[in-house]
Symmetry: D2
Subunit: 160 residues, 4 copies
């Protein structure tokens, strides 16, 4: 059983047709798992629904505590890409003995051309086989939390 925590991020951005702005409503995770015909046993919980640039230390604590307290030892977190590495560091400092994989998307899933479904398949797979630790799964790759940064010019996660 894999626990999936949803925090928002580009993954779950939608277009609000009344205001003409990007916004968040419900997560697309269940729809994406259905589209992928996933049979991985998961338990999905939405912790927050925010742009990761607006994630406060208090928000980050919520993520950490949920990862500490859940009974599952394998966890996937959907997260905005901008501060994904920062949250990974907070998790690495506070959660031991669990395999935690953070993933996200560069393009909202609600758009036809999103990388979200690819990343979700990737993150769920890494979460099933990697040893305990905190990882980022983006661009088809996985990185230990302190060996990666997001290249803000290209949007690509790179090894450091």
């Amino acid at each position: 059983m894999i626990r999936v925590f949803v925090t928002g991020g580009t993954f779950d951005k939608t277009y609000d047709e009344i205001t003409g702005r990007l916004s968040f409503s419900d997560t697309h995770l269940p729809e994406m798992l259905q589209l992928g015909r996933s049979r991985v046993e998961v338990s999905v919980r939405t912790l927050m629904m925010i742009d990761s640039l607006e994630m406060t230390d208090a928000d980050r604590d919520v993520v950490v505590r949920n990862c500490q307290q859940c009974v599952e030892s394998r966890i996937v977190i959907t997260h905005g890409t901008d501060t994904m590495v920062k949250t990974a560091a907070a998790l690495a400092a506070a959660v031991k003995g669990k395999t935690i994989v953070l993933t996200g998307a560069m393009i909202p899933y609600a758009f036809g051309s999103s990388d979200g479904l690819f990343n979700l398949g990737s993150a769920l797979s890494f979460a099933q086989v990697l040893p305990s630790g905190v990882y980022i799964a983006m661009n088809g790759q996985h990185f230990v939390w302190d060996r990666v940064k997001k290249n803000k010019a290209t949007g690509v996660f790179e090894a450091i």
Copy 2:
């Protein structure tokens, strides 16, 4: 570096608008890797472009020999789901010391609602971390080649 062998299957079926039938033209693999913003180093080679129900023993030999002879030790094969397990068995008998992951799709990628992108992200991820052996990656899960069958009534791959 991961070697990707394309054999066709539902993954790559397209709709021929002149004949009104399903058909194969070029593989969608490069387009899918681009959509997923994959940065995994891959070398893609199309071996054949067929429905796996029509895959002969001679075709299967081509797949086996390519897996034996390529320099890469990590391989992903896109394959029709109907005889995926049979090809996996042939590979297991003949290729040693390599990690081979077969994957496919229930819905063509060219359709908007395909599971293909999810499966590709999953297969590429499993191929990077699993020990040598022959595996099937479908429905977000991975199975050793002789521990799985496709449930023809539901289209789901199940452990045996």
Copy 3:
């Protein structure tokens, strides 16, 4: 109020993931009207769900009789492209004083890259403003029923 008669055709083909073949289930018309945010008052009725190559004279009679008997004077018919002109001729011979617009698609709507939504918007619009007669609306254009043929090599409807 516009009457919409559904007869199947490429418009409504779906991919049966268990058999791996193209098939018909329910019509996509209501979903397409919703996607187009259509506010045209319509009454949709499915007459049959077949490939137009398999449409018999008896089937064609069903279409004709429904167009004769419905109270609406403006009608859109979704139809396979291969025999669309033949059905249009049958309608022109038997239905007077109504505006009937036949339309279809070269790619199934269930595929991401269908022309169906464009054609539906076009057909509904022509049906609201053209004088009585039988027309084919394809490729953004409209043709009187006896001034058009489908070019089978290109899939395009051309004036004759």
Copy 4:
């Protein structure tokens, strides 16, 4: 021959994956016409690429002058929905003897679930058959410029 003037609007909004914001780059019109397999003879020209809430009187003058000066007597204008009626009024005051149809979208075409393709098929069709005048084509319907308003709460264009 129909002249198509592009002014931007939701129709052409894209998601900038580096900034995470909605933005404009090139118009999707040619791609949409290709997807719709349109054979309507059109000449597309981008006049500006802006949110219609930011359209100034000077911008509106550019639209008016282009409609006056082009040789074509049938014109489609893609436009943001928020001030579409205002631009239609400016055109009605200054351009005589031409059929001008404004259209737009509630959801960007780059999103998978846009109404844009439906609206484009509708607008091109109305533009071919309506007498001279200035019209708005949205929601599958057409309205004379001074008989319509956008309901800002629902996003629907309604007759007044």
